[in-house]
Amino acid sequence: MSARTATRLALEADIWTIAAGTAVAQIAFATLVWLYGDSPRAMTMLMVEGTWGSAYGIGQVMFKATPLLFTGLAVHVGLRAGLFNVGAEGQLAVASLAVGAIGAWLPASTPALVAVPLLVVVAGCVGASWAAPAALLRAVGAHEVISTILLNRVAAALVGLLLGLGLAQKGAVRTPDVVPHARLARLDRLIPSFEGSAVSTAVLIGVATVAITLWILPRSRAGREQELVAKNDEACFVEGIPVAWRRAQALLVSGALAGLASLGTVLGYKGYYEQGLGAGAGFAGLAVAILGRGRLLGIVFAALLFGTLAQGGLAINAHVPAEVMEVIQGVVIVAVALGDARIRSWLTSKLVVLGAR
């Protein structure tokens, strides 16, 4: 059994999952459009034209996929430690507000080399801080799912409150514009055919973040121990691994990564924060994490798939409500989770036969 065979099998599993996810999304889309009383074929054409049919459409898909790269990775970091971070939504909202407010407060002449890294740190720290109560509660025995969900609601109210209390521009419900050099360049400045689409260099930062994080996790002590804690916390405790701290750490990193999604929305797109910007990306992160299975190819593809659905929803909205895409998202989550268990057991049995495990 060579390492190469194992890599090939893992890649095969990736491709199967990706193909299955796309197929399920297709079938669900056709069924829903048909139920709604429209022609599945015409709507599929319209959706493909609006997304992968032009350079502008592709740019928009990449733009919609950008925050999902971060939130999908965030949810994955939690999952591999055995934790469900359902709070990416709130972590992103609070981080986005902070990035918008601090980005606007910086002196107008702040150079990009200072402003962007500073705001990245702000996004990460604030996102992590919004996961901190859940991390603390988990340590005293309260399930992270309930606490992160409750924190989402608190975040939504808090963002509204702070915008109302003075973080917003006078007479508006948004923060003032961030300083010019804090904004991330649109990709159409590098590739002119993306003209008009909102895709920015944030998508490149997103892919790099996913790649680097997935590379570091199995190679660092903390990352490895987080995964071990999920597998068998009692054995970890006996071995002297700080179980509670590793869990808390995973949730904090997860929150930080969710907060970084504001790079795509605040710094790469609007240049300010308004209430509701990036909403839904946190929940979509769960779909991306499940479809992505902690693999670089998987997460990038899953983000693109759900980005396609989001952009395609806009393309068909005149005929069929864009919200059918949310329904599809739910269906894909369940279908892929159903299939994933089977793929995993198939992969494991192959590896056992080959003597890799």
Binding site: V86, P133, V145, I146, I149, L150, L161, G164, F283, A287
Partner: protein, 302 residues
Amino acid sequence: MSIITSIASVTMLAQTARTAVPYVLASQGGVWSERSGVVNVALEGMMLAGGLASVAVAHDHGPALGIVAALAVGAALGALHAIITEWGRIDAIVSGVAINIVALGGTRVVMRALYQSSSNSPSMTGFEAYGGGIVGRVVFDPLFAAALGAVVATAVALRVTRFGLRVRACGEGPRAARAAGIAVVRTRVIAVAIGGALAALGGAALAYDEHQFQSGMSGGRGFIALAAVVLSGWRAGRAAALCVVFAALDALQVVLQGHARALQDMVQMLPFIAALLALALLSRNRGHAGAPPAGLGTNATE
């Protein structure tokens, strides 16, 4: 009117009772589901689906049939949740989050199909008020009675009936229950369907109270109800009592209408912050009595 006098008033009591109805119904749904061993974060989505179903049917066929529709939709979603987790062996949290996403998007799609608007339904009339005054209107509402009845029925059914005993057996030890001849999957499907119906009834109560359905109108009540279930140690009566406390914090919003906007925004967070604080304080040193069902989240065939 000062803040103190608005809070300490008969209006506040009546508002609390009225606000508590959806919370209490959803919490009883959570108790049924989780005592059978199926984690249910989908209460929120079930409330939404039930709310829209009730309004859509009540529009043409009257409020009573609207309630029947809500119960049916809730039971179907509950059964679906249990089938996905039990038969498909998917983690119940994944299934629950998926159901919430589908319910939020799906209610908007259905509203646009029915009313050409994905944000709210036209206004409708719920049950006629049988009593006079604000207290009478609350206390004589059939859905208020339904909430009270649900708490008593849940507590009694789980404690003394044969089916209740089976549900608890499935929750405490699914494998032992199976060995004793209980059809674990079927029992769980029925229990979660009952729970879904109750949560959907809570959604209907909310919609009837507002005289329309609005997108996302459950507003986190299903999650608060779930927190109440956990805090109560998975017991019907205590979960309902906790729901009344959270509802009182929620009712402050109505009572304090007209005060400063910032105060209202802050009050909006109160039920959620209270639930988080309660989780922080009460999760530590849980005695045997407050422990979750031993088989919560585990499969009979694992």
